[in-house]
């Protein structure tokens, strides 16, 4: 019984995370802040959301040039 409650709590938290993630993606970044990026070159995770955003921006800039 308690295990089911535990699973329900885990699902609720996953749902909360999903909702907040989609809501966060939809809120626009304030003007003047689109070009900011943290310096995460020392981290080795290749597929982080920040890294892919950074490489996209780099490709865009290179495409413009």
């Amino acid at each position: 019984m308690n295990a089911l409650l535990g699973a329900a709590i885990a699902f609720a938290l996953v749902g909360l995370n999903a909702w907040l993630y989609t809501a966060n993606k939809k809120t626009p970044v304030p003007e003047g802040c689109e070009e900011l990026k943290p310096d995460c070159s020392a981290c080795g995770i290749r597929d982080c959301a920040l890294r892919s955003a950074l490489t996209e921006r780099k490709e865009e800039n290179n495409g413009d040039n």
Binding site: N17, N24, G32, C33, C40, A49
Partner: protein, 190 residues
């Protein structure tokens, strides 16, 4: 437990980076400039404080009455991730200046070992609410202090002649070793 002792030991003596080795990933990545370091430090203080209080409340109000203590790890990490998303959203909507300073570091803090460690340590050490608050502010304050010191040193090192094999991260670890020697001297204080 004496709150001042707790604060001092959490911030300086058992410093989370030099003594417990937690939070190293952003330490290596974000410490190349002092302004970045300040922003990251304030963001970490805010996230650790908020996440620790929320997880403390979750543990004692939900998990313990339902005898679900084994769910601690799963619920804490999900709560931390949700809290970071919420904070990011609130900062984006309400304060562009604050977003410029620290909003960009928030996604990096989700998988930071330090946040989960502080949240779980408050439970393991059986702190009451006041001690939790003091611990949750002292630990990230120590993190920010080390980050700023480290960034200052690394900035000064930038024009210098580092051996090629040591360039980048290895020399950063040597700097951390020297800082660790300095702070080990405090270990007999309390």
């Amino acid at each position: 437990m004496n709150l001042f002792t707790l604060f001092l030991s959490a911030m300086l003596i058992n410093n989370i980076i030099l003594s417990k080795f937690l939070g190293m990933c952003p330490f290596m990545g974000v410490s190349t400039r002092t302004s970045n370091a300040f922003g990251m430090g304030i963001a970490v203080i805010f996230v650790i404080f908020g996440a620790s209080l929320l997880s403390y409340a979750l543990y004692y109000l939900v998990l313990v009455p339902l005898e679900l203590e084994y769910m601690e790890l799963i619920t804490f990490i999900l709560l931390i991730a949700a809290f970071v998303q919420l904070t990011d959203m609130i900062i984006k909507k309400h304060s562009p200046t604050l977003y410029k300073q620290l909003g960009i570091y928030l996604p990096l803090i989700t998988t930071n070992c330090a946040v989960l460690y502080v949240a779980m340590d408050n439970i393991t050490q059986k702190y009451n609410l006041i001690e939790t608050i003091v611990n949750s502010i002292a630990v990230p304050a120590g993190f920010m202090l080390m980050l700023v010191i480290f960034a200052t040193i690394r900035e000064r090192l930038q024009g210098n002649d580092v051996p090629k094999a040591f360039a980048g991260n290895p020399i950063a670890f040597i700097i951390a070793a020297i800082m660790a020697i300095a702070f080990t001297s405090l270990s007999g204080l309390v």
